[in-house]
């Protein structure tokens, strides 16, 4: 049930009102304000990336290349990929929800290194500026994967600037990960042992492990690419004795674990939402916690499945294939955990729950189709087709973004002290779910039938499915726009929300909405296991 606070005594300043003025935001060290700064920037990039999606789907509504030529189309999908993966998905949940909620969930006043947190945001913005520069100068056309030697020697796009933008952005991610790791180790409230932590925290800890160990490798790889292109030094160009497959190895060593950076926080959000809206502690807490870490660790062992059709050795391909099947197991475990949590729970279908349930279904489809791709034989047939595109959009949009939307809707009252329209939010969730499936399900069929990715033309017999997909994309876009509108509207006109409108048990709900700058009046002392739902109020020292 949603409770609204009584027309209350609002003399107490919260983190939004305590200091005023632009500089108090730009020089803040408050993790909550930094989260808001990220929210604005990340959402802006989402819409820019979405714009490219619109252009792609517009072109693909007809078989002929009648909207743009192939070079321009190459730039569309490259910019779409770079912006969506690196400037939207990777930071989305950790930098916004993680930053805002994680310290509160562990009863801390802030992250371990608040100024480094702000620095992370600035670094992200600088990386973003480079990317915008690339965009405005004419774009880059190599695909977000930057495969050599096209990217190092033949492309006419702004490869160096794009590479530098991503390189810089990487440091933002590394510092955020570092901050989270130290925070979880050293800033927990008294009594908060590891196995009393909310699973959202476990998810972010695992994510941070990946950020810290993987991102430096993509950084140095792009650095070498920039050197090669700028100074014609042949690291990856066969003309100089370089090995393009080495580039692919180094690129995917990060970029595969990167997908787990995108999904693990989302899984953490989903666990929190399902628990709250079933008023039931998660089934198999320990399994969920350990599977998060297992995904982070095993996720580093499978990158070769992106190289199955390269000259990577068949032997290595076999090893990577087996490992890729194994890495699916911890994810599958979570799906069982979530559904078991819902069983005999007291399910409330509020908006965040709609997104969480949607996540479970769509992520399962995305994950299972990953197994098709993990098979060496099938991969030869499916690679570089629309099957791959459908697979990763199911996990990244149907999975990660649904989790993001669910999380935004779940923590919105906490962050801003207001509640959005329940009707419109549920309508938007359903529009998004339907639009998403209409966009991407046809793409599985297209890929299976052989339509290649990254082409702006296709045989006429594929048109019906493409038109369905483009129609779906417009519905999906409408859904996101509606969400944007009512959320922004709620900031000014939404009903005031109380400290715990959803009846959740984690620590952030035991303090005011919006929180005061120090988060808690008195540092909480934790005496119970996580997710203790009892008939009386759970008592915490607040």
């Amino acid at each position: 049930m949603i409770t609204t606070a009584p027309p209350a005594v609002e003399t107490k300043k919260n983190y939004l009102t305590e200091k005023e003025g632009l500089m108090s935001w730009l020089l803040t060290s408050d993790h909550k304000r930094i989260a808001i700064l990220y929210l604005i920037a990340v959402v802006a990039f989402f819409f820019i990336g979405g714009l490219f999606a619109v252009l792609i789907r517009l072109e693909l509504a007809t078989p002929a290349g009648d909207l743009v030529d192939s070079n321009t189309y190459n730039k569309f999908f490259t910019m779409h990929g770079i912006i969506m993966v690196l400037f939207f998905l990777i930071p989305s949940i950790p930098a916004i929800l993680g930053n805002f909620v994680l310290p509160m969930m562990i009863g801390a006043k802030d992250l371990a290194f608040p100024k480094i947190n702000l620095l992370s945001w600035y670094i992200y913005m600088v990386g973003g500026v480079f990317t915008l520069y690339v965009l405005l100068s004419g774009g880059v056309d190599t695909g977000w994967t930057f495969y050599t030697p096209f990217s190092s020697s033949y492309s006419n796009g702004y490869v160096i600037a794009a590479g530098l933008g991503i390189f810089i952005n990487g440091f933002s991610a590394i510092l955020t990960g570092l901050n989270f790791i130290v925070t979880v180790h050293r800033m927990r409230a008294p009594g908060l042992t590891w196995f009393r932590l909310p699973l959202f925290v476990w998810a972010h800890y695992a994510t941070s492990m990946i950020q810290v160990l993987g991102t430096p490798v993509i950084a140095v790889t792009l650095f070498l690419l920039v050197l090669e292109r700028g100074l014609h030094i042949g690291f990856f160009d066969p003309a100089y004795g370089g090995d393009p497959v080495l580039f692919q190895h180094m690129f995917w060593f990060y970029s595969h674990p990167a997908v787990y950076i995108m999904i693990l926080p989302s899984m953490g959000v989903v666990t929190e939402i399902i628990t709250t809206f079933c008023s039931k502690k998660p089934f198999g807490y320990t399994f969920i916690a350990f599977s998060s870490v297992a995904i982070a660790v095993f996720g580093f062992l499978v990158w070769g499945h992106h190289l199955f059709v390269s000259s990577q050795s068949v032997y290595a391909g076999m090893v990577f294939s087996v490992l890729s099947y194994i890495v699916a197991i911890p994810s599958a475990i979570k799906v069982f955990n979530w559904t078991a949590t819902m069983y005999k729970g007291s399910v409330r279908l509020e908006t965040p729950m709609l997104y969480a349930i949607g996540f479970i279904g769509l992520f399962t489809v995305g994950g299972l189709t990953g197994l098709f791709l993990a098979s060496l034989g099938m991969n030869v047939h499916l690679t570089d087709t629309y099957f791959v595109i459908a697979h990763f959009h199911y996990v990244m949009v149907g999975g990660a973004i649904m989790g993001f939307m669910g999380g935004i809707h779940y923590w919105w009252p906490k962050m801003f002290g207001v509640m959005y329209s329940q009707v419109w939010s549920k309508v938007a969730a359903i529009i998004i779910f339907m639009g998403f499936n209409l966009t991407f399900f046809p793409q599985f069929l297209l890929g299976y039938m052989g339509m290649p990715r990254r082409y702006h033309v296709y045989p006429a017999e594929f048109q019906v499915l493409n038109v369905l997909s483009s129609a779906g994309a417009s519905i999906l876009g409408v859904g996101y726009m509606v969400a944007f509108v009512y959320l922004v509207w709620s900031l000014k006109f939404g009903e005031k929300a109380g400290p715990n409108p959803w009846g959740a048990t984690t620590l952030e709900w035991q303090t005011s909405s919006p929180p005061i700058s120090e988060n808690f009046e008195v540092t909480p002392v934790v005496t119970q296991e996580a997710y203790t739902y009892t008939s009386e109020e759970v008592v915490h020292v607040v």
Partner: protein, 225 residues
């Protein structure tokens, strides 16, 4: 680095989001170690490229490696190890409250680091003069499999260059630390910046401990200089 520094006679206080100084020191230490492992992976990418290409073109790498000066490399390695010793002694001086020794050892570290970079600059210049810098005028005189030797030199400059840039950053931090130490900011109760920088400096030393054999010591038998 942190505004916790206070004159010698005052007790340092933790930043507001920490419960106590112990927690702050601990967080800093873990933070620095986590940063260092990101550096391991960062340099690691270059080591990856090195191993891949050395395995592919052993003759080219051997010939090219022999173009480096073994004695100068060994000398430079020694210099850097000395600077690690002086850095460790600087941290120890801070822990034992010997303000003048902190300054002395930090200055020695700076000088030794400067010597290393000076020698490196000489080596780079030497390579430039002998056309051993990859690019339009590259030439590896008397090298086997000469077509692939630019890869070695690209990695040589890339790896030692990245290492040197880490040392240059260290330089600036050392200057700051020397100034602060001179003002008595570091006491046995709180000398975290010195300690943290020590970890960084030792890490940079460790990178060189690997770079030296990998770049200078390939197939030196019969080619001792």
């Amino acid at each position: 680095m942190s505004s916790t520094a206070t004159p010698l006679d005052q007790t340092p206080v933790a930043r507001h989001h920490f419960e106590n100084l112990e927690q702050q020191k601990d967080a800093s230490t873990i933070g620095m170690w986590v940063f260092l492992i990101t550096e391991i992976m960062f340099f690691g990418g270059l080591f990856m490229a090195y191993f891949a290409y050395r395995q592919a073109y052993p003759a080219a790498f051997a010939s090219a490696s022999n173009k480096t000066n073994l004695l100068i490399g060994a000398f430079n390695t020694t210099v850097l190890i000395c600077s690690s010793l002086t850095m460790a002694l600087a941290v120890r001086a801070a822990a034992t409250g010997k303000k003048n020794l902190i300054v002395l050892f930090l200055i020695l570290t700076l000088l030794l680091g400067g010597a290393f970079l000076g020698v490196k600059a000489y080596e780079y210049h030497d390579k430039w003069v002998h056309h051993e810098v990859p690019g339009a005028h590259f030439e590896c005189e008397g090298c086997q499999d000469a077509g692939h030797t630019p890869l070695f030199f690209a990695l040589y400059f890339g790896m030692t260059g990245l290492h040197a840039s880490h040392m240059i950053i260290g330089f600036f931090i050392l200057v700051y630390l020397i100034r602060q130490a001179g003002k008595g900011a570091y006491t046995p109760k709180w000398f975290t910046p010195v300690e943290m920088f020590g970890l960084y400096w030792h890490f940079v030393d460790i990178v060189w401990i690997f770079l030296f054999p990998l770049l200078y010591l390939i197939d030196r038998s019969g080619a001792a200089k």
